[in-house]
Every structure is written in structure tokens, then in C-alpha cells.
Subunit: 338 residues, 2 copies
């Protein structure tokens, strides 16, 4: 049976949610990923050292070996001192949500100049700025493109601030990161890598492929696949795995629960393009390097073995539910000291 | 209270469905519209004089005063003689569904040359060709545009054949009809006139606005509104009202049940554009003139009175459910001889 061993990967963008869901989301994430950038758009949001520490405690209580990379949500009226304290509490990144752009973002930022002082402190403190790069005031398919000037202004205004253009979905977004300044990188999800808008609306309506930013067209997917298959180090993996209950999905919630299937699907994608050797850099190197984190020492083994994704995990219908995938994660070899 | 009286309208594109649904769909349609072009994509399809006559009998059994304009579905392998017999049985139009383009179209036509002999007979017999103008082999948002060459080839090959480009959704489709040959016209639905793709995927996912062709962007809607507000006689009303049970919608079926709200929404639209005087031509003249049918003699009165659309009609959640509309149909004045 075909096998590959790769450095244990990180997920540079995940929603672990809260409450009852947390046990499952941490388990699915930590059984494959050593670390993950944990998004702060909980209710209430992670916006203080106390809430950050409490959230981290909850996560670590589920799997002490997992290393959550904590983030906070940038809010209008936040103090510079708060940013410094968040950094001391272990925050790795701060997240900028344009107001109204996605789940739990009504309290977001209308324009980056509202938080210019906070960005300055983040730059000084070496915190990464993670951006949901969409302007929700324009037509849905143009939202990412419309946000590009704002991203570039931030990069120029704060040349030492590392900025991540999250979950890239458009050819224009890809090209902006590709040709943009050195302090700009981008994450790529498995659903934007594999699907187009047709997988949502092209046949029957498939709400399980509904996410923000919405899936785009074939040229956009081609641009995404192209930089990934070139092994461009400015682009790295962030799943944006975002579970909702089947009930919430039926009411139109945006997000796909990709965590349990994302690494197998990536292996399948790279293999089908005859570039399986690029998987490790995409999932286990480029992100850590951009964030300035040490590479993981653990390894995981993946094997080519067909399996069927469960129809549901508890209340949540996963991405690729009931479909077959050709790769699976075989076992993890943990370091002996953790 | 503001009132207007207009010639009783026709709906030049409706799905009345079958079985249990038929009572409701005929009632909602016939209480407002004198006539309607009844789409033939039932199961099995309307494809013979017998099935056409049977379907018409069922419809007339529900409301004898209603005048259904019967159509048939063009199928590969149909005989020319069958077309002539369908005409004798009272068919007004034949419908061309590209294979795979929408609900119950798997048995459709791959290319018009497959049915060149049938189109010739339709031209001779004075039957109208109604076309679901989408090429399902391309990206969903480009499907209407991709079908344009085929529509224009048909119009050129059969200059006496009247061709209707149904439920126009794109700027390119609009411009094709606007600048195209005299034997080409187009229908416009209330949902394509009022909404964009954002009403489906821009906020939460709204499956009740999911239809084929899928809603397009702001420039497309602007093009649609523009020809309607110019009173261009090549464009007339066809609702494409297409009910599905709430259960089927939850499984992704395409179609909006607009019949109960469509005329009030049109009155609202024309009034908001200060062109209320154009409503009558759009709903009650241009379509009949293109089809070569006499204008209706009955009148209906509409009045400006706010009402709330019911949450559901039986198993079906209507378009604009639970929302308020400013216009309603007051009463119908029927001819005394029917």
C-alpha cells in the first residue's frame, strides 16, 4: 500500500467553536494537526487576555498535547494596552473582520484606519494580522477583489506587520498576494482549492458547500491551484473548517466542516496533479515559516486507502459527507516528551 | 386608495405541475391571469396529443374559465407527424430544454440540429419555439451567454419561426434579444427582475431564491430592468413560477413559487420606478402580440394596499413568504359569456 510520511501539519485557520462542539472540533483537529490558528469569533469574542486564557484552557483540557495558536478579535475601542496584554497572554495573531462580512462579524471593523493605533502596536509586538479580506458592501462575487486596496494599504503603512489574506477565493486575491509585498501571505482552504460556485448552485443547491467567501468560478480555482502547485511559499494551508449543526445549515449558515477530511483531500489533490511531494511544504512548512514558528518535529503517516466519510458527526454534517476519499491519515508518531 | 385598472394579464411561462399541486397552482394562476403558457416538463412529459389533451382537461377541470395555452416538450426521435397532431390538439408552443439544464430535463436536446426536422414543421405550423436558453456544460453563471449562438442560429435558420428566449437572466441574453432578429423575443420573471445572486448567497443562504437560470449580478439585473422600463415590446412577462414542496426545496430543488405574488410585485416595481403605466403592456399586451393571440377583453383592478404574503401555501413556501407587498389584485371582472 502506498504510504507517505510527512512532518506533522498545522492548520493556519480554524474555527473550533464553543460548548458542546468543542470536544469534537479539537479532537478532529488535534488528531492530525500539531497546531492551529484558532479563530476568535466566538460569542462573546476573544478580545481580552482573560477570555483568551480561558478559551485556551478549554481547548487544552480536551487534548493537552495539542498546541492551539491563540488569536483575538480586533474591535473598535480596544486599547493599545489590551493588545500588549494579549500578546503577553500568548496571542499569536489578531483577526480583522470587516463589519458584516461573515459569521459573528456585526461588531467588526468598517475601515482599517479605525484601528490604526492597534495595528501599530501589533507591528511593534510582532503579532500577525489575520484578515477576512472582503468588503461586504459590494456584490458577493466582487467582495474579495474590493478589499484588495485596503489590504495593500495596511501592508504599506505597516511594513513590519505580517499580514495574512485569509481563505483566498479569487484570481485577483491570489495575484495580489503573489505579486504583493513580502509581509503579505495568504491561506488556502481545501474547499476553495477543489470546488467552484457550480458545486453550490450549478446543479441542485448544495448548502454544505456554502461558505464565506463564497466559492468563485473556474478561473479563480485555476489561479488558486496554480500557486499551490508551483509550491509558492506565500500560500499555505488554513482550513477555515467551520462547523454548524445541520439545523443551522438548513437555515442558511455559512461554513463547511472540513477538519476531518481536509488532509486526505489535500493528499488526493496533490497526487492527482503528480505533485504529492509538495503536500508537506503546503501543510507543514510555509505557514510556520511565515508566522516565525519552529517547524514541527513529529511526523504523520498517510496511506492510500479508500474510506467513506461518515454521513454526520453528531449534529454536524461534514464536508464530503458520504463520499469516498482515497487517502487517510494512518497514525501519528508523537514526540516522547509530550 | 390608489387603484389601477388594467387589461387582464397573461403569464407566458408557468409550471402548473401535476397531482396534488395542480389545484393550488391553477387557482393562484387563474385568479389573476386570463391565460398562461403551461410548461410541459411534467413526469412523464407532455409529448403527444393525448398527454396534452389529458393535461388540459385536468387544468380546465379545476377552473373552466381559465384558458391554458398548451405546450409540448421537444424530444429526440419525435416524428414530424406528432408535431402536426400536437398543433391540431391545440398546442401553441413547443419547448426546447437543453439536456440537463433544469428540472426534469435529462431527456432534453443536446444541439438544435438533432431536431432540425421538427423545427421546420413547427415553423410551417406557426408554432412558437420556447427555449430554456442555457448550455449546462459550462460554468453556471455563463450558461445563458454560452447558449446565445445556438439561439441565433435557430432564428436565422427558421426566419418564420417565432422563438422565445425564456426567463432572461443576463445582460448578454437581454442584449441578444434587444438587438436580435424580429422573430426573437424574451420572457422576464419577477425574480430575475428584482433580485441578484446576492439574494441567494450574499448573506445567509436563501434556498427560496434558488432557481434556474441562477440569479446573476447587479449589471445583469440593471439590463433586465432597463428594457422593461423602456417598454421594449420584445420583452414580456413570464413568471416561471415553479413550486416545490418545502421538503424538496430543502434538498436543493431549483424554482420559486411566484404565482401568488408576481403581479403585486410587478405593480410595486413599476410604481417605484414611476412607470406604473407600463405594467399593462408588459403583462397584458406584448406577449399576446408576439404569440399572435387576441388581447384579453377582461380587466382587473389592482389597489395599493399593504398585505403580508402567507408563510406557506400547503406544502409550498411561496416567493416573498412572510414579507409585505404594497399592491394587491382587488377583483376580476370576467366576461359574461364564459
Amino acid at each position: 500500500m502506498k504510504q507517505i510520511e510527512i512532518r506533522k501539519p498545522d492548520d493556519f485557520h480554524i474555527h473550533l467553536r464553543q460548548g458542546d462542539l468543542l470536544g469534537m472540533t479539537v479532537h478532529h483537529c488535534s488528531s492530525v494537526f500539531a497546531r492551529a490558528i484558532v479563530m476568535p469569533n466566538t460569542i462573546p469574542p476573544i478580545d481580552s487576555p482573560e477570555s483568551l486564557e480561558d478559551y485556551r484552557r478549554q481547548i487544552s483540557g480536551i487534548d493537552p498535547a495539542f498546541r492551539p495558536l491563540m488569536t483575538f478579535k480586533l474591535l473598535k475601542g480596544m486599547s493599545s494596552e489590551n493588545i500588549r496584554l494579549l500578546k503577553k497572554a500568548g496571542a499569536v495573531a489578531g483577526k480583522l473582520y470587516p463589519a458584516g462580512s461573515t459569521t459573528n462579524s456585526a461588531d467588526g471593523i468598517t475601515h482599517w484606519k479605525e484601528i490604526v493605533e492597534l495595528l501599530k502596536v501589533m507591528e511593534e509586538e510582532g503579532l500577525v494580522l489575520s484578515v477576512h479580506g472582503e468588503d461586504p458592501s459590494v456584490f458577493s462575487l466582487d467582495r474579495e477583489k474590493a478589499y484588495i486596496p485596503e489590504i495593500l494599504e495596511i501592508c504599506e503603512e505597516f511594513p513590519q506587520l505580517k499580514v495574512v489574506f485569509e481563505h483566498l477565493s479569487s484570481a485577483e486575491g491570489i495575484s495580489t498576494v503573489e505579486t504583493g509585498p513580502d509581509n503579505l501571505a495568504g491561506t488556502i482552504t481545501v474547499h476553495h482549492l477543489l470546488l467552484t460556485l457550480d458545486d453550490l448552485i450549478g446543479g441542485s443547491l448544495n448548502s454544505h458547500n456554502f461558505c464565506k467567501p463564497v466559492l468563485k468560478g473556474p478561473k479563480d480555482r485555476e489561479a488558486i491551484q496554480s500557486v499551490v502547485l508551483e509550491g509558492n511559499r506565500k500560500f499555505f494551508f488554513g482550513s477555515d473548517s467551520a462547523p454548524h449543526s445541520a439545523l443551522k445549515k438548513s437555515k442558511g449558515a455559512a461554513g463547511s466542516y472540513t477538519a476531518p477530511v481536509t488532509l486526505p483531500l489535500l493528499a488526493e489533490f496533490f497526487e492527482s496533479s503528480n505533485r504529492l511531494e509538495l503536500l508537506e511544504n503546503f501543510t507543514s512548512r510555509f505557514g510556520a515559516e511565515f508566522y516565525g514558528l519552529p517547524l514541527n518535529e513529529e511526523k504523520i503517516v498517510m496511506e492510500k486507502e479508500r474510506w467513506t466519510v461518515p454521513e454526520r458527526y453528531g449534529e454536524v454534517i461534514p464536508f464530503f459527507a458520504s463520499k469516498e476519499i482515497n487517502w487517510k491519515v494512518k497514525k501519528m508518531s508523537f514526540r516522547s516528551d509530550i
